[in-house]
Amino acid sequence: MSEELTKKVIQIIAETQRMPAEKISPASTFQELGIDSLDGINILFALENEFNINIPDDSAQTIRSVGEMIEGVQKLIDESAGKPAAG
């Protein structure tokens, strides 16, 4: 996972959760950070807007850590980049 993306995702989580970015690392679980289901969908909303991606509902229910979130976002960015421009 790219360092730039990691930094950006952590920044978005920090902004959404109103918490210092220093407290968040890819190893952090949502439980450790006190991120509940409503916080989770709020973060996904911010990520979708930032990266112009669509995160499926099903994957949203399985993500439990910051690292998983970064990986998921990376995958979706790669997928949308691999597609021909839709115009």
Partner: protein
């Protein structure tokens, strides 16, 4: 004064499964779902495409054009269901009865469509004014007020807006008012018309709407399906109903309500369990009497196991013998109208001895250890039932019903 028994003497309903209570009940017995591709909103680009809309709804079949233009779709549903219920009850209005009548309704978001239109005018069309009817159409009490106007009812009319528990809060309070002698008759229920672009997008953002259909208590469930419509019930004291020879559908015997104080959207086991216990206590009903529960049963990941655990917490091993169904699998989750549609379903189930099924059921989720009536209606002579409604915000409202012999 002795505590008065309160009975249902009139019912009316309009929803995806039918435009009258009789059509609704037939579809419930047949296990026929009203869930179809959404037609009134362009949902291309949405994560879901199915909903439970009232099919081919034409307001002018019920109202002249002027009246129709004064009422948001949700208030139209209120009035249509109230008209059916009142006609069904064959109540004869006198000046005294009009003054002693109460109207208690529920609606989660009121005239959302009128508000959507106003926003589109302002922000999309860049107009500098909106229709002056926006406020009277949007207010959540519009349904109750138009019922009051239609019948000249001058007793108390009011509306509960407690998200998905709205109708049960309304019916419960109507029960208490009639029981306590604060009203001689009540028109009560709920209505909702949530199919607007803005509101559907908001539900999409919650990530709880199923991309396929509503499968409560199934392992394969993927969320709720949004529904619309209204149901209204006429409540009267048993003695008054018998004195005028009214048809009695059943008795509403108890109401219990609690708050979770847990989370704004995540459900808890304790709050719903306490609401069920309070409904039993208010009804002076032993847990052994309950043979059917019309579940809140939204079909979301979170609700169904939590509700099952709450049922187990209240009934223990007795739950092995309590039939449970979620009729939301057929009429969708009609939010502030849900409890009212489910009250009609429950009272008719008790009266007829036919328990409507949970449609679209595939395989029981082991996290939901309850007796789900799957896909086909079940014949069962049941003497008492509960109907659960649990809302975002952690607000739980449970109604208890009894069959009335003869």
């Amino acid at each position: 004064m002795a505590v008065r028994r309160v009975v249902v003497t009139g019912i009316g309903a309009i929803c995806a499964q039918g435009k009258t209570a009789a059509e609704f009940w037939q579809a419930l017995q047949d296990g026929r779902s009203g869930i179809h591709p959404i037609e009134t909103v362009d949902v291309s680009g949405f994560k879901f495409r199915n909903g439970a809309e009232v099919p081919n709804f034409q307001p002018t079949e019920y109202f002249d054009e002027k009246t129709a233009s004064l009422l948001d779709r949700f208030a139209q549903f209120s009035l249509i269901a109230a008209r059916e219920a009142v006609a069904d009850s064959r109540i004869e209005w006198t000046p005294e009865l009009r003054e002693a009548a109460t109207i208690v309704t529920g609606s989660c978001v009121g005239g959302q469509l009128a508000q959507d239109t106003g926003y589109a005018d302002l922000f999309l069309e860049k107009r500098c004014r909106v229709s002056p009817l926006t406020i009277p159409k949007t207010m959540a009490n519009a349904g109750a007020s138009h019922i009051s106007l239609e019948y000249g009812i001058t007793g108390p009319a009011f509306t509960f807006s407690t998200a998905c528990s709205s109708a049960n809060h309304a019916i419960g309070h109507a029960l208490w008012m009639v029981r306590n002698g604060q009203a001689e008759v009540a028109i009560t229920g709920g209505s909702e018309a949530p199919f607007g672009t803005g509101f559907l997008r908001a539900w999409e953002a919650m990530r709880v709407v199923a991309p396929d259909t509503c499968r409560p208590f199934s392992k394969e469930r993927r969320g709720m399906i949004i529904g619309e419509g209204a149901a209204m019930l006429v409540l009267e004291p048993l003695e008054a109903a018998r004195a005028r020879g009214a048809r009695i559908y059943g008795e509403i015997v108890g109401f219990g309500m609690t708050s979770d104080a847990h989370h704004i959207t995540q459900p808890s086991v304790d709050g719903p369990a306490r609401a069920m216990r309070l409904a039993l206590r208010d009804a002076q009903m032993a847990p052994e009497e309950v043979g059917y529960i019309n579940a809140h049963g939204t079909g979301t990941a979170a609700n169904d196991p939590t509700e099952s655990a709450a049922i187990r917490a209240v009934f223990g091993d007795l739950a092995d013998h309590i039939a449970v169904s979620s009729t939301k699998s057929m009429h969708g989750h009609a939010l502030g109208a849900a409890g009212a549609l489910e009250a009609v379903a429950t009272v008719l189930a008790l009266q007829s001895g036919i328990i409507p099924p949970t449609a679209n059921f595939i395989e029981l989720d082991p996290q939901c250890p309850i007796d789900v009536v799957a896909n086909q209606a079940r014949r069962a002579e049941v003497s008492a039932a509960l109907s659960n409604s649990f809302a975002f915000g952690g607000l739980n409202a449970v109604i208890a019903f009894r069959r009335v012999a003869g």
